[in-house]
Every structure is written in structure tokens, then in C-alpha cells.
């Protein structure tokens, strides 16, 4: 019996081979998506804390909600770029994505935590540029710039709720 490729007369993909590995863009994109999901979770947690605390902390929503909306827009745009080859294996999560630091208790500490997270996210986006395709690198750069602009907003919010 002849191998299938010999019968068909071409060297097509081996359908019985192991699934292809995700392209580098897919791997880095998954990391960016996980980071945005984590950021959204953190904002949601802080907003719940602030709402429960009331007083000046309750007014934090006015500052934090627009930033949260921008993170949701980032996530939607990143997801729209994710095209996974059929049958490919899932890429492993990074250790950071497996064990993210929890939001600390207390509104003031949690806002400071968000500020650090935004600064780190902007820096990480710069690292993601290397090896990314041109269009994806532009998106990462733009999102990183957006996250950098969140830092001064959180500085102002921290001053608003300072003990």
C-alpha cells in the first residue's frame, strides 16, 4: 500500500502529525489578553472596595470607570486579532499569569496597587513589541501608551482618597 502523499502525488500537510504550534504572534497575543483580563479583574475589585467603603472612596468610580472602559476596549481589540490555527496546542501560561498578586485590602492601598500595575503593564507592552508583527506591535505600543496615561490619573485618585 502506498502512503497517502504518494497516491495524491503531492507533499501536503501530514494530517496525522501533531497539531502545529501557535505562531509567535499568537503566543504573545495570548499573554497580552491574559494581562488585560487580569487588569479588568483588578479594577472591578477596587471599584467594589471603593463602593463598599463609601465617603470619598465612593467617588473614585468617576476616575476609575473610564480607565476600566479603556481596558475593556483593549481586550476587545486584542481578542479581535487572535487567530488560532485549527488544532494547535494551547500555549502555557506564564508564571505571572498563574499567580497574579491579589489586590490589597483598603482603598488607598488598592489604588496604589493599580498604579503600579498600570506602570508595569506599560513597560511589559514595550517588551512585547520584539518579535511581534508590524500591525500587532503598533497595537501593543498604542495600548501601552494608553496604560501609561492611566498612571497620572491614578496618582490624582490616590491623592483624593489619601488617609
Amino acid at each position: 500500500m502506498l502512503p497517502l502523499a504518494a497516491v495524491s502525488g503531492c507533499d501536503g500537510p501530514d494530517v496525522l502529525a501533531a497539531p502545529p504550534s501557535p505562531a509567535p504572534d499568537v503566543t504573545v497575543l495570548r499573554g497580552a489578553i491574559a494581562a488585560e483580563q487580569l487588569m479588568i479583574t483588578r479594577y472591578t475589585t477596587v471599584l467594589h472596595q471603593a463602593g463598599a467603603a463609601g465617603g470619598s472612596a465612593g467617588s473614585l468610580a468617576g476616575a476609575l470607570q473610564p480607565l476600566l472602559a479603556e481596558h475593556r476596549a483593549h481586550l476587545a481589540q486584542l481578542r479581535s486579532r487572535l487567530i488560532v490555527p485549527a488544532g494547535s496546542k494551547a500555549s502555557p501560561a506564564t508564571p505571572h499569569e498563574r499567580a497574579p498578586a491579589p489586590v490589597p485590602p483598603g482603598v488607598s492601598a488598592s489604588v496604589a496597587f493599580l498604579r503600579t500595575a498600570e506602570q508595569d503593564a506599560a513597560t511589559t507592552m514595550l517588551e512585547r513589541l520584539h518579535g511581534a508583527s508590524s500591525s500587532l506591535a503598533q497595537l501593543f505600543a498604542s495600548i501601552g501608551a494608553s496604560e501609561a496615561t492611566h498612571v497620572p490619573v491614578l496618582d490624582a485618585a490616590a491623592a483624593q482618597v489619601a488617609p
Binding site: A73, L126, F140, A141, S146, V153
Partner: protein, 155 residues
């Protein structure tokens, strides 16, 4: 980020586009600054004006290191918005920064790692200045609506 190897196609053009935007920003901040006297905004306008001069000089040096003649500044520029008061001066600063961010995203699209990194850092710097002038943040600094609306399959 100088290099002696022949630059990849599109590198010189992207650098010249960014330089042209910086020339326009230096001119524009000169106009805007005249309407932002006696306030924290005047200080910010001066600081931003100087930042654009530094970026302009850097881009010129990079272009020369690549064997290209940097694009010269125009004698005068037609402002994209009329500027006759502080509010309009702020609007001009925001518009200049938005255009600068878009121009630097052109550098981010290049394959050269150091130019790409510089471009991304300049997008961040521009976004921070724009947000300070605008008093608000945006989700995608520098990205055009067309680029956001038509995601492309990654190569």
C-alpha cells in the same frame, strides 16, 4: 540607535515622516505657547516644546547615521485649527500630539528593534502629553479608526 547597515525598506520614509511631524510640533507649540502665558500651562507648553526639539534633533541624527538627508522644516505651517485664545491653543497641542503619536507608530511598524522601541517610547510620551492637555485619556493613542476597524491576519 545608529546603524551602519543598509536600513530596511521603509525605514527612511518612516523616520522622515516622524521628523516632519516633529518639525510641525515645534512650530505649533511655538504658536500655542504664545497664548498660554502666566500659568502652569505655559510651563507645560515650554516643556513640551523642548521635548519636541530634542526628538527632532534625535531623528535628524539617526537619519544622518543612516546616510539620509533629514527633511528640513518649513518656514511656516498652516495650523490645523485656528489659534486665537488659550482654549484653542490647548486644542492645537492635543492635535499635534495625536499626529505625533500616529507618526511614531510608523516607526513601531519597522523591524529594527531599537527604532521600534524608540518609536513606542515616543508614542507613550506623546500620549502622556496629550492626556495632560486634554484632561482625559484615550484607549488607543495614535491608532487611526481604520487601523482599529480592520484587524488584519497576523503574518
Amino acid at each position: 540607535m545608529s546603524s551602519r547597515v543598509r536600513p530596511a525598506p521603509g525605514t527612511i520614509q518612516a523616520l522622515q515622516t516622524a521628523l516632519t511631524a516633529e518639525h510641525a510640533a515645534v512650530y505649533g507649540y511655538g504658536v500655542a505657547g504664545a497664548y498660554l502665558t502666566g500659568s502652569a500651562q505655559a510651563t507645560a507648553a515650554t516643556s513640551d516644546w523642548l521635548a519636541h526639539q530634542v526628538a527632532r534633533d534625535h531623528l535628524e541624527a539617526v537619519l544622518r547615521s543612516l546616510g539620509a538627508q533629514p527633511a528640513a522644516a518649513a518656514v511656516a505651517y498652516q495650523l490645523p485649527v485656528p489659534v486665537r485664545n488659550p482654549s484653542q491653543a490647548v486644542a492645537l497641542a492635543v492635535l499635534l500630539e495625536e499626529r505625533i503619536a500616529t507618526a511614531y507608530l510608523g516607526l513601531v511598524a519597522l523591524s529594527n528593534a531599537s527604532i521600534r522601541d524608540y518609536g513606542a517610547r515616543q508614542v507613550q510620551a506623546s500620549a502622556l502629553r496629550a492626556a495632560a492637555w486634554r484632561g482625559d485619556t484615550v484607549a488607543f493613542p495614535g491608532m487611526t479608526s481604520a487601523a482599529l476597524a480592520r484587524p488584519r491576519k497576523q503574518s
